[in-house]
């Protein structure tokens, strides 16, 4: 099977127009000692039917949250998605368009970017947003790199251990290349330690990074954390799950300088971790240091409203080695899903959905805490839709038995990030976990001692 349309006769006509006998003649520009001869060592072609059957067979062994109650979160949360999102995004004019380099031919995409930027700023309490970033972890990195540009003489970044371990991992990798020191500050009873962060963030620190709700589910008391950053002039970077911002006061209200994170849960399935969509919002005074695309409204010669990509001189195709980022690709299609998702839920619905998460998680947590042998690891801390449970046996064994004996995909075994937490399970309970799933989970845990 092939997607080439030209017939052999047409190819012959085209070769004649070019003035050569065969495609081999055209390929002769490749020096002989560079040529690959023979057949590529790849598997044979499949027909459309064969292909569908093959992939179905290949992936049949997967255990999917589609067929099982699933309480995994740890940075990837499943939420209700209206049917209209799929239908609209399936319009080929959206999904087969390229980057909107020609505004007159891309007003659709550009307008949705402006809508997305507006929604993200209103959710986070910030002033400017870009068109999206690869994912939540790289969004944290980009926020930090931005802070390093704003504070161009700084040589240190401070991060709370409540930030997602993938984001901390990325920070380690990126900052090592730039000879910037990364200081990680441990949590106290699951929450970020404001005095310790302030102490670490002495002069020469570009940013203090926290996450709320943090990786262990704890909603942070943001004001002292933002103040800890500002005490010595560092910028405050807050990673936040946007869905939580239906009920949580936005980081912008506490004075955060950048708010970033993973927006995949808004209208996008988890897709085994990608493609996701990251977001980054900031203060307008720092817009010239933002990475990646930004859409802005203007007018045409007749005064008609138009949307364009703006502040383009920040970007790699113009500024090259001095660009604010090397990023070219955004996660436009995922951001579009999130935009339509936010529009459909709307002002009230967004809050309601957020409240459902809060209610279900608290309902589940209260019941699990009553099961002998189980408890809440950070009982004094506030949480949104995820919480850390202490388990009577190793968390990985709890998970194994949940699936084997009850058909439930359990939580995240925290022993994977911290051996001292091997008897702790991170459970996410969202609007995608109806009451009967919570009942089933509680009943199952009662049998796992």
């Amino acid at each position: 099977m092939t997607y080439v349309q030209n017939t052999e006769r047409e190819k012959a006509e085209m070769l004649a127009a070019i003035g050569c006998k065969s495609v081999d003649d055209l390929m002769a520009v490749i020096p002989e000692d560079c040529r690959f001869v023979g057949e590529l060592d790849v598997e044979p072609a499949l027909t459309e039917d064969e292909l569908v059957r093959h992939v179905r067979a290949l992936t049949a062994s997967n255990v999917s949250a589609d067929g099982h109650p699933c309480f995994l979160g740890a940075g990837a949360y499943r939420h209700f998605c209206p049917s209209l999102v799929d239908s609209l995004v399936a319009r080929t004019e959206f999904w087969t368009a390229y980057t909107p380099y020609q505004p007159e031919a891309s007003q659709g995409t550009l307008t949705t970017i402006l809508e997305w930027q507006t929604m993200m700023c209103r959710l986070t309490g910030m002033e400017v947003s870009n068109a999206s970033l690869y994912d939540g972890a790289t969004a944290v990195v980009e926020a930090v790199l931005m802070a390093l540009r704003v504070k161009s003489k700084a040589t240190r970044v401070v991060v709370s251990e409540g930030v997602h371990p993938d984001a901390i991992g990325c920070l380690k990798t990126y900052l090592k290349c730039l000879d910037v020191e990364l200081v990680t500050v441990p949590l106290v009873d699951g929450a970020s330690d404001a005095p310790a962060l302030a102490q670490a963030a002495t002069d020469g620190t570009a940013a203090v990074v926290v996450q709320s709700p943090n990786f262990f589910g704890v909603v942070e008391e943001l004001q002292p954390l933002v103040d800890a950053a500002h005490a010595h002039g560092a910028l405050s970077v807050v990673a936040a799950d946007p869905v939580s911002l239906g009920v949580l006061e936005p980081p912008g209200a506490f004075g955060a300088d950048m708010v970033c994170g993973e927006a995949t849960g808004m209208g996008n399935p988890p897709w085994f971790g990608g493609p996701g969509v990251g977001y980054l919002c900031a203060r307008s005074e720092n817009v010239r240091q933002m990475p990646a695309r930004i859409a802005g409204e203007t007018v045409d010669a007749q005064g008609r409203r138009a949307v364009v990509l703006t502040f383009q001189t920040r970007e790699q195709h113009i500024r090259r080695s001095k660009a604010t980022s090397n990023i070219c690709t955004s996660q436009q299609l995922m951001a579009l899903r999130a935009t339509i998702w936010m529009a459909l839920l709307g002002k009230q619905g967004f809050v309601e959905l957020s409240e459902v998460n809060l209610a279900r998680a608290h309902h589940a947590a209260a019941r699990i805490a009553k099961i002998p042998g189980y408890g809440l690891a950070h009982a004094k801390r506030a949480f949104f839709n995820e919480f850390t449970v202490t388990t009577p046996i190793a968390a990985r064994d709890v998970n194994r038995r949940l699936l084997d004996e009850h058909g439930i995909l359990g939580g995240y075994d925290l022993g994977q990030v911290d051996p001292s937490r091997s008897k702790q399970l991170l459970l996410a309970v969202t609007d995608s976990n109806p009451a009967d799933e919570i009942d089933a989970l509680v009943a199952a845990l009662e049998t796992i001692r």
Binding site: R288, Q312, T313, R319, K322
Partner: protein, 126 residues
């Protein structure tokens, strides 16, 4: 194109007007024209040191960005603060209201081009 005879120039299209030990620096009409619609300029602050041949700021149009290269060495004594709101001055009056910074010279100016040499340079690269 003819450029003022009393100024000195660089191949990277900056001009210098020397009055005593103070040099006024700007970009040439040719540079302003090729950048067209200017939208942003990043200039040093009073007290900063400029080093001949090195970048001392940036100037941007919508789709281009250009380094400003210091034609001479010296300490910045004045910055054209009006430019921020009137970047058009650089296009409209590059050798007058469109000046960028004034520096107190700490080095020579012999390495600079005179108007004739600069005109020839522009012609050659047209």
């Amino acid at each position: 194109m003819s450029n003022p005879k009393d100024l000195k120039y660089t191949e990277s299209h900056e001009w210098v007007r020397v009055q005593g030990d103070v040099a006024t620096i700007g970009i040439t009409a040719h540079a302003a024209e090729s950048l067209s619609d200017l939208v942003f300029i990043d200039l040093p602050s009073v007290g900063d040191d400029l080093s001949a041949g090195e970048s001392f700021g940036e100037i941007e149009s919508v789709k281009a960005v250009s380094d400003l290269n210091a034609p001479v060495s010296g300490e910045v004594v004045e910055v054209n603060g009006d430019l921020e709101d009137n970047l058009k001055d650089i296009n409209d009056d590059p050798y007058g209201k469109g000046w960028l910074v004034k520096v107190k010279l700490s080095g020579g100016t012999d390495h600079l081009l005179d108007a004739a040499a600069y005109d020839a340079h522009v012609q050659e690269h047209a």
